[in-house]
């Protein structure tokens, strides 16, 4: 089946007007499957890191949200060991009017503002609440170890 117009337009726009600090490139053999990289926001423990993600637009997109996860290891209360992300707009608050671009921006914003009260990685969230400086230091270490080439 031909690729829906919506996906073509979104892809074109991602290339023509890239978002600063975010790249999304479709696989040649699967135009619904994107290699994504997000730069850690400045003044966050992820600053200086480049995080790889993968994104897939399911058959029913945009009625259902894109599927997305981190491939780079990251220490963050809302991201689990397999890189799965807990973010409202990827679940209940998804709207077909949202786009790949807006979702990636939300993820970048999540890196800048971790939310330990809505955790996916319980152990990380716990530490974030009890020992925030320590947690931030670990996040910074992991960024150095896994997210810089």
């Amino acid at each position: 089946m031909a690729l829906p117009k919506r996906i073509i337009k979104e892809t074109e726009r991602l290339v023509a007007e890239p978002v600063p600090g975010i790249q999304a490139v479709p696989h040649e053999d699967n135009l619904r499957y994107f290699d994504v990289s997000i730069h850690g926001p400045t003044q966050s423990p992820y600053e200086g890191g480049v995080f790889k993600l993968e994104l897939f637009l399911p058959e029913d997109y945009p009625m259902t949200p894109p599927k997305i996860r981190f491939l780079t290891k990251i220490y963050h209360p809302n991201i689990d060991r397999l890189g799965r992300i807990c973010l409202d707009v990827l679940k209940a608050n998804w709207s077909p009017a949202l786009q790949i671009r807006t979702i990636l921006l939300s993820i970048q914003a999540l890196l800048g503002a971790p939310n330990p009260d809505d955790p996916l990685a319980n152990d990380v969230a716990q530490r974030w609440k009890e020992d925030e400086p320590g947690a931030i230091a670990t996040a910074r270490e992991w960024t150095q170890t896994y997210a810089t080439s």
């Binding site: 699967n30 619904r32 993968e54 897939f56 997109y61 996860r69 397999l82």
Partner: protein
């Protein structure tokens, strides 16, 4: 149809198990919860009733390579079992002797394989095969 890439497909299979939507007769889990590539899996098969396998629980290892699900996983029994499709020296399932592996389709999942193995254990030809003692491993 959109072609679901390997990793998202494996996540689907993992989540099906996590949500308890899988079959009761078998189970699946990641061998290493930190393995971002999700290659190695542990499986169990509950021995089918009315066979020599009744009440036994068989452990297996499954490995999904880079080309999964275009290519089938490799499957190896940990628990000793006597079945025609299982290599008696190392527990590996011979892909040519299990129809879902020899005729692998992209829609098949690891659960498909476990359930077919279970059916094979219950088949008239195999259900009375003498078995090694329970709890022994390859």
């Amino acid at each position: 149809m959109a072609k679901v890439p390997r990793n998202f497909r494996l996540l689907e299979e993992l989540e099906k198990g996590e949500k308890g939507q899988g079959s009761d007769a078998c189970s699946l889990g990641l061998a290493d919860g930190n393995d971002i590539m999700m290659s190695d899996w542990n499986g169990t098969i509950l021995g089918p009733p009315h066979s020599v396998h009744e009440n036994r629980i068989y452990s297996l290892k499954l490995k999904c390579g880079e080309n999964y699900p275009d290519a089938p996983p490799s499957v190896q029994f940990i628990s000793r079992i006597n079945l025609p499709c299982v290599d008696q020296t190392n527990g590996f399932v011979d892909p040519t002797k299990l129809s879902c592996l020899s005729g692998w389709k992209r829609e098949f999942t690891m659960e498909t394989v476990l359930l077919e193995l279970r059916r094979s254990m219950a088949s008239p030809a195999n259900k009375k095969l003498p078995q090694p003692p329970e709890g022994t491993t390859f």
